[in-house]
């Protein structure tokens, strides 16, 4: 599987080189608009060498980490509560359904107004964006716990607290971790957009700079780095998941 993927990626690279160099030869579009892999590589090396790339990546990741972290804690806590307390759920569900269809990015300017142009607005925005999906998903994970498991535990002598601690939490944990993984992916998805406006640092800013100073190669490089980052983090999280949940191995679905 990995070999074919490697070959496929190589193929895409070749295609890209052919198209971009061919463009230069045939003069179809202004050469700057279609950067060659070489040009993109050059920008990459430059920004790594003078440390700017790492700086911006770290800034973006930092914002994501803090915003996501805060949202995760809130989403898990409230999600667990909503799942186990029927009145809370009945009251919260309609409100969430009302807020959910509103694209989170629509609130970005408002966060900028409320929190100014500093770090706080980005972190708060990431927090807001990731909170709702993680809340809904972790509540759903708890609600999915099989009644049979609760009954089995109760007929082995489990009391109310035991049921929560020894059955509900372990049974819902895989679903909760998936919720967190999706939340993090969403955070990476949105941080770029948030850094387009009202930011002077971060990967999104770097990409936007490419437009401001008309260096499309920088845009492409930034996008590729972002994609790479996302894949890497996702792969790491999946690997961690597989280790923790060894008991789901053979044949279980996720």
């Amino acid at each position: 599987m990995s070999r074919t993927r490697g070959l496929a990626l190589l193929g895409v690279l070749v295609l890209w080189a052919v198209v971009s160099h061919g463009n230069r030869l045939l003069d179809v579009m202004p050469p700057a608009l279609l950067p060659t892999p070489g040009e993109v590589g050059k920008v990459f090396v430059e920004t790594v060498r003078d440390g700017t790339l790492l700086r911006h990546v770290a800034t973006s990741l930092g914002r994501v980490a803090v915003g996501f972290g805060l949202a995760a804690v809130a989403a898990l806590g409230l999600g667990l509560l909503a799942a186990m307390c029927v009145p809370v759920r009945l009251m919260v569900e309609p409100v969430i359904e009302f807020v959910r269809p509103i694209p989170p990015l629509a609130f970005l300017p408002m966060f900028l107004v409320w929190f100014g142009l500093g770090e706080a607005s980005k972190v708060a925005f990431i927090g807001y964006t990731t909170f709702f999906p993680m809340f809904v998903a972790s509540a759903a994970a708890v609600l999915r716990v099989d009644v049979g498991l609760l009954r089995a535990a109760a007929s082995l002598g489990a009391g109310h607290l035991d049921l929560i601690r020894r059955v509900i939490v372990p049974a819902a944990l895989p679903g909760i971790i998936v919720a967190l993984r999706l939340g993090f992916a969403l955070a990476l998805f949105v941080i770029v957009g948030a850094e387009f406006m009202g930011a002077d640092s971060g990967l999104g800013y770097l990409i936007m700079e490419g437009r401001t100073f008309f260096v499309p190669a920088q845009i492409v490089m930034g996008a590729l780095v972002l994609g790479l980052l996302g894949s890497l983090v996702n792969a790491l999280l999946l690997a961690a998941e597989r280790r923790i949940f060894r008991w789901r191995e053979a044949g279980a679905t996720s």
């Binding site: 993927r5 694209p103 994609g227 996702n234």
Partner: protein
């Protein structure tokens, strides 16, 4: 202590975590109460801010202030222009993306060669958040309708393409074999078996695409637009018109919800065979 607040053990035993299923009317009543409570709380917060003024009340407008801002815009005739602009871009961008994604997806799902060519490109581009490519579109096509619509098409293409391919791939081989042993020719096989069997996934993909369209249109209307709900929101920043910003956001939500409902309506009619009743 916990027992008072959370479901009791006998309730958990009988119903699990979901609790006793509520009769429809009671469930509706709860939803109504919840929404009313939400608006009351919001209004209360807005009113408190107005009186005590811990900060400029513009920052937390009460619901009626938001509504007022919207109505004002509607009265001046501007609201429809903005709504129309956003809807137009979404409609064109989504439709283009959908047609491309479904057509190519259906093709790729059946023809191995096409799939082998397209899949690596898709797999390469998919992990990159489409938002990162927005500046590239602007550089290529300039700040105009083209880049916005093109961007929506680009952003929505990949998820819809992937779900369509999956929709075809997951078709039970046995369905195809059964049809073939009933004498189906390739063209009939496609229209009478493959298309209907893939339809549920395709429609789910379309719903995703609609949601994604509204998701990304906002950011592209922030940058270089003179009309549109996204423009309204960002423009409001200049004069702290938070009521306008909130109102436009809520409208966006409503539009997205309506779009989703539309596809669901289509789903319900076209996929009637999936419902047990």
């Amino acid at each position: 202590m916990a027992a008072v607040f959370l479901s009791s053990v006998p309730e958990l035993m009988e119903w699990g975590l979901h609790g006793e299923p509520l009769p429809r009317r009671r469930a509706l009543r709860w939803r109504f109460v919840a929404l009313v409570a939400f608006f009351l709380l919001w209004s209360l917060a807005g009113a408190v801010v107005e009186w005590t003024r811990p900060f400029n009340p513009l920052f937390l407008p009460a619901p009626w202030v938001v509504l007022g801002a919207l109505l004002e815009l509607a009265r001046k005739g501007q609201l429809w222009i903005h709504v129309g602009a956003t809807l137009g871009r979404v409609a064109v961008g989504f439709t283009t993306g959908a047609v491309a994604a479904v057509a190519l997806g259906l093709l790729a799902g059946q023809v191995r060669a096409v799939r082998n060519v397209l899949e690596p490109v898709v797999e390469l581009l998919r992990p990159i958040p489409p938002l990162a490519m927005l500046p590239l579109f602007i550089v290529w096509v300039g700040i105009g309708e083209g880049s916005k619509v093109g961007f929506i098409t680009y952003a929505t293409f990949f998820p819809m393409f992937v779900t369509t391919v999956h929709g075809v791939a997951q078709i039970d081989d046995r369905l195809l074999r059964a049809a073939q042993s009933l004498g189906a020719r390739p063209r009939q096989l496609f229209f009478r078996v493959i298309l209907p069997a893939a339809l549920p996934d395709v429609l789910t993909g379309l719903r995703l695409g609609v949601a994604l369209s509204f998701f990304v249109i906002v950011i592209s209307e922030f940058i270089g637009a003179e009309e549109g709900l996204g423009y309204l929101i960002n423009d409001g920043r200049n004069f702290f018109l938070v009521p306008q910003m909130l109102g436009a956001a809520v409208l966006l939500g409503l539009l997205g919800y309506a779009g989703n409902g539309l596809v669901r309506g289509v789903e319900r009619r076209v996929l009637r065979w999936q419902q047990p009743r």
